[in-house]
């Protein structure tokens, strides 16, 4: 039995300044080419984490890779599965029904247009009826954090944040450290009793 819990990235709102470097880094990491400068970014910026900025709080929100992932449970196309301790979306199976998008308790799923080699990918069959007649319709897929599954350096957002406000949480390790910290605190307070 695999008892390992899924990792996830979380931001510290005390450190986040709302610069959106995480969003840029995420979008760059998921391009199908190596883009270093803005001039090489020929398609819309499509991050998989989203800066939330209200009067009260500023921090990016992204997928928690839930153990009993609601998105996977509601997916009618069986496009969302757990692979290597990550909840992943298969864009080829996704039909764009948006149920996962409205089900996700974190609002961490977005429907994004699909591009290949900087060109929009069109729906195979479905066309849109417009005043100019039937036109091709761009293909969309549900999109969310994949923890940069193909990236050896780990999540791009964590690496790029100038504030070091993002952290890749390995839950059991984090929990163990919290326990040790608590034990140390308790031991110190008992000594001073």
């Amino acid at each position: 039995m695999n008892t390992k819990l899924n990792s996830f990235v979380i931001a510290n709102p005390q450190e986040c300044i709302g610069c959106k470097v995480c969003e840029i880094a995420c979008a760059v990491a998921h391009l199908d080419k190596d883009a270093k400068t803005a001039g090489n970014f020929d398609i819309p910026v499509m991050p998989r984490l989203y800066l939330v900025k209200t009067a009260e709080v500023v921090m990016p929100i992204q997928c928690r890779h839930c153990e009993d992932a609601p998105c996977a449970n509601v997916c009618s196309a069986s496009a969302i599965t757990q692979i290597d301790n990550k909840i992943l979306i298969d864009k080829d199976k996704c039909v764009g029904c948006k149920t996962c998008m409205i089900t996700c308790p974190f609002g961490a799923i977005e429907l994004m247009p699909i591009y290949k080699d900087d060109k929009p990918v069109m729906q195979m069959v479905l066309k849109a009826e417009t005043e100019e007649g039937l036109v091709e319709k761009q293909a969309f897929t549900a999109s969310k954090c994949d923890l940069c599954a193909d990236r050896t350096e780990g999540p791009a957002c964590v690496q790029a944040c100038p504030q070091k406000a993002l952290e890749l949480i390995v839950p059991q390790e984090k929990k163990k450290q919290r326990s040790i910290d608590a034990a140390n605190r308790i031991a110190a307070s008992i000594k001073s009793l």
Binding site: I17, G18, C19, K20, V21, E23, I24, A25, V28, K33, D34, A35, K36, T37, A38, G39, N40, F41, D42, I43, P44, V45, L51, K53, V58, E110, M112, Q159, A160, P162
Partner: protein, 459 residues
């Protein structure tokens, strides 16, 4: 175009108030509370564009609450075909204006490129950071329809002839010392507004771009056998302040506005893409003689310490009356914010300071003001590392790549220098010809009129 129209903007719809721009702004010109959209104090701003380079607050295509992309492109005066993301901090472009001029058959189009452009523009076409591409650059400009592919590097050599001799003249005649370089327009504006009492220290030499502008519509018109009125003079610069410089009211010594339009390296990439030119596959072509022939010394103007090194290669030989033992003056290169050197030339020991990043100039200026230095020459580049990291250069998407790009652009600059036949400005054969056939001598009457300028206290 008016003088005051050249400024840096922060898009109020996009700015998240992260204030990273205010950390890189060398003059504290960015105002606003944390978490709220920022604004630029135009009196303080020196238009260096470092805020543009660092800004990461982009316009999301999926944000329904902001103005449509077409509207933002038009407000920013960018070509409608531009695809790259738009960020909160920006300068107004001139590419649509240049595109219209290129289509105008009545105009004779002359273009110049700053040295920094050839070590960076290829980055916009998926080539590695710092790729050296002078040949592709010349080819692209020719394909775009420019009639003369000239070069700021040529007038960088000319600047050395004038500025080197100006330094010698100041040394010999007890002139105001130290002499400050004057090729960085943001630095010049800074001295004018923050240290007007030090204006006499600024070299009277125009920047290489403005020298080129003055030469295009005089000597260039003569060489081409055309009426100066027909010349459209465009400049491609790594800099967001050069538009401001070109619009200075005194920059008209040719009898016309010397530089009609300045576009950034990024905007040239937009024009090349707009024309459907595949930059990466272009063959290498040459810049045109006479105003496009350059030495390695002219080429290194774009890296911090480069102007100093170029000046020393010439000044040493004029003062010592013997060839410089080694043209590669490694001791003035580097990345530290303030570097000093003492150079023996003949009987003189030249004391030099090199400032990289305008923030670092304050301590040097304050000690000069207090009369506490015995420096002879001070080079200041507003952008850290020099023009290779200018506000108009290709914008790195990730913070970590900025240092990498700087290193590779700098390395390419010196590789190009060492591969050019002439390493010293005074060896450039077209410079010799220009003095013999047209200007007479450095600091002569014609030079004085065309190549030198005056400054304005701004407070």
């Amino acid at each position: 175009m008016k003088f005051s129209e050249n400024r840096i903007y922060i898009d109020q719809e996009l700015c998240t108030g992260c204030k990273r721009c205010s950390q890189v702004c060398p003059v504290d010109a960015i105002e606003g509370k944390q978490g709220e959209p920022q604004s630029v104090n135009t009196d303080r701003c020196v238009l260096c564009g470092q805020c543009i380079q660092i800004c990461s607050a982009y316009a999301s295509a999926f944000d329904q609450d902001i103005a449509p992309r077409e509207q933002k492109l038009s407000e920013r005066k960018l070509l409608p075909s531009v695809k790259e993301p738009l960020f909160a901090a920006y300068n107004e472009g001139k590419a649509p204006e240049v595109k219209a001029a290129l289509a105008d058959k009545e105009l004779y189009k002359m273009v110049q490129c700053a040295p920094a452009v050839r070590v960076a523009i290829a980055e916009e076409f998926e080539l590695p950071l710092g790729s050296l591409s002078p040949g592709k650059l010349a080819a692209a400009l020719r394909m775009l329809g420019f009639n003369s592919i000239y070069d700021t590097n040529f007038t960088a050599d000319l600047t050395i002839m004038e500025e080197g001799n100006e330094l010698i003249q100041r040394l010999e005649n007890n002139g105001v010392l130290p002499m400050f370089t004057s090729c960085c327009p943001a630095w010049v504006k800074y001295v004018e507004q923050e240290y007007p009492e030090l204006i006499p220290h600024l070299s009277s030499c125009k920047s290489p771009m403005q020298m080129a502008g003055a030469m295009f519509k005089t000597y260039g018109a003569q060489v081409a056998g055309i009426d100066a009125e027909k010349i459209y003079s465009a400049a491609v610069m790594p800099c967001t302040c050069k538009s401001f410089e070109a619009a200075r009211p005194e920059m008209n010594s040719s009898g016309y506005r010397d530089v009609d339009a300045v576009i950034t390296t990024r905007e040239l990439a937009h024009l090349i893409k707009d024309a459907g030119i595949n930059f990466a596959d272009l063959p290498d072509e040459s810049f045109d003689a006479p105003l496009g022939t350059y030495s390695g010394a002219g080429n290194i103007f774009c890296a911090t310490g480069g102007v100093t090194e170029a000046a020393l290669r010439t000044a040493y030989e004029v003062i010592a009356k013997e060839p410089i033992p080694n043209v590669d003056l490694e001791f003035v290169r580097g990345t530290d914010g303030v570097r000093t050197a003492v150079v023996g030339a003949g009987d003189i020991e030249l004391k030099i300071a090199i400032v990289s990043g305008l923030k670092n100039a304050v301590s040097v200026l304050d000690s000069i003001k207090a009369g506490k230095t015995d420096l002879h020459f001070v080079e200041v580049m507003t952008c850290p590392g020099g023009c290779i990291n200018g506000g108009g250069q290709p914008k790195l998407l990730l913070p970590a790549d900025r240092a990498v790009a700087s290193e590779y652009r700098s390395a390419s600059t010196y590789i190009h220098d060492s591969s050019i036949e002439y390493r010293k400005s005074h060896d450039n054969p077209e410079i010799k010809k220009l003095y013999n056939n047209y200007l007479g001598k450095p600091l002569g009457d014609k030079s004085h009129h065309l190549l030198h300028t005056k400054y304005t206290a701004r407070r």
